[in-house]
Symmetry: D3
Subunit: 133 residues, 6 copies
């Protein structure tokens, strides 16, 4: 990823609903990268114990993706954002579904993980536009 090439940078969210005011879609994206990485490792390792751990850990990371996205959708994005980006609700709904049973949770295919990453990338694009605005 570009970020790793460019060096260390501040990213992940610190959602605390105080509110803290610190948000970043990167946290959801990183968990999704873990999900995809686990799917790839699963495909490359047939050991049943390894695979059992992979499934368990992927389940947890995917749940974290859902949570990070939900937090952005509820705590960061406000009514004016949803007016400016009428596709935003649907995008978040699709992304959180893509992290769930019908998406990355329910499959060990890295293509599912990539679909999730692609949806998060769309959210990330809008997020930074709102930050710049």
């Amino acid at each position: 990823m570009l970020s790793r090439i460019l060096g260390p940078r501040l990213e992940a969210t610190a959602h605390c609903d105080l509110p803290c005011g610190v948000y970043d879609p990167a946290q959801a994206r990183i968990e999704a990268e873990s999900v995809k990485a686990i799917q790839e490792k699963y495909q490359g390792n047939e050991d049943p114990e390894f695979r059992a751990r992979a499934i368990q850990i992927k389940e947890q990371r995917a749940e974290l993706v859902k949570h990070h996205l939900w937090v952005l959708w509820t705590d960061y994005f406000k009514a004016p954002h949803f007016e400016k980006y009428p596709e935003l609700h649907t995008l978040f709904n699709k992304a959180t579904k893509a992290a769930g049973a019908s998406g990355a949770k329910g499959s060990m295919d890295p293509a599912k993980g990539q679909e999730l990453l692609d949806l998060i990338a769309e959210i990330d694009k809008i997020f930074w536009e709102t930050k710049a605005a």
Copy 2:
């Protein structure tokens, strides 16, 4: 922070002990930024209900800092790193203490949050050196 000026970047860790192979001190640093932000907001708001929530939420974020640091110390850094950087154990021990009762947890002074951030910055520097090596 530089990262925000430079735009969106990939950061946070995806610790899963599978292992996933994805680590970044930014996650600890972001939680520490939240801790400091909460301390600052606390100083600026005397409402007892707000302050009670701030203390509770800071406790949780500070615990997350400890966890992220512990994970880096155990799961990312290996014996060769500790040989090359003999100060690394002490640095992690000080940083995790700085996130705890004797540091950021036990104080609403943003200076304590900054001390924690400074220690994390030292870890971050070494981390990226090991990545580049």
Copy 3:
């Protein structure tokens, strides 16, 4: 896992994202009723220790409301529902905000808890219509 570090927590959802197929907005509503009940008890009891506990427990219950609602929005409601009820995304977004810092989390006023309950009631009405369909 982060959850273990943070201590024991109650997770009372009928959400299992297997998927299980069992959903009911009542769970969100009950947590919201607890939130309002805590606000009412807080107003009637000035003991500082009681009030501190009330704030802490309300924070947890309100977070559960957010989670239950998010799960319904992502795991139960599907695209056809959102087409039939175009107001549904906004309704869920408002309801989850009403459970958060700008709503029930950030206030000990039972009126805020009632606002949250009213929004959940609107969701509940739509939910049962989809069930009957």
Copy 4:
């Protein structure tokens, strides 16, 4: 379940040990329904990845059943109840065991899930009698 036939009703418990005063065995029952549903789905799907997820999720739901029952037993039921219903302790002990390793956790047989539901139904009956008293 009667509650679903009769329409949406107050279901889940809001255990908060403040105390909140809101309890309902339905929450334990719903989790037990999830457990049984997972057992049924497991029997009908031989995919090893699906089965691994089913086992993991059932473990979590069953643990929730135990917790909801424990909370009722400790926080809702009082000494006069135990005097009036001398079988109540044993009933709760059997029900929480039925949710555990020797019961629903340790088996993918829906009959085990049904045994758990039957025990919860007995608790539910007594619960509503105490409410009516």
Copy 5:
């Protein structure tokens, strides 16, 4: 405590409901000792920030006491034990209540913490008798 005087011993429980077969009331007792220690420290420190943290942390430790006791009651003790010790159900019910809102959670008085410890000591006595049997 006897265990500390006699040297380090097997203390905490390893409840895993696999079952693992490793149980010890000491874990509940240790958490109760923490609860009492927090109550004592609270009485000796009037700083509002310290007190807020103390209340929050005591709430968590007390909840752990409840959980450890519940696990012993459900996972360790069996029907023959309850026959041999007919007071056991009531003892566990009183102990878990003593850790809750009407007991140690709801008070910063170390006497409440001591009451909880006394009840746990009674459980511990019976526990070791069953182990010796």
Copy 6:
């Protein structure tokens, strides 16, 4: 909080970072004994459902070992201890690694569990020396 989303979890530590002042390596050791016990039972039971549960539960117990050790390393041991016992940092780092993916988490071989127990025994020895000092 993330922890709520992830489901109910047991957190059995005497760590409260208030600070409470109550610590004992026995807790880490007991969890490690559970880990080894699970590995032994796994070897003796080929039932796929049992094995799946064993892997899942061992993962959780091993994570608890890591946490208990980290807490001792950060919250109990102080700078003078690390000066007196210069091997202590390395010992803790090895022990937490032994509880992780390269150790007990990643293997169903009881020998791995025993290695972890041996490292904890070394920590325990130093711990009680510091207590006696």
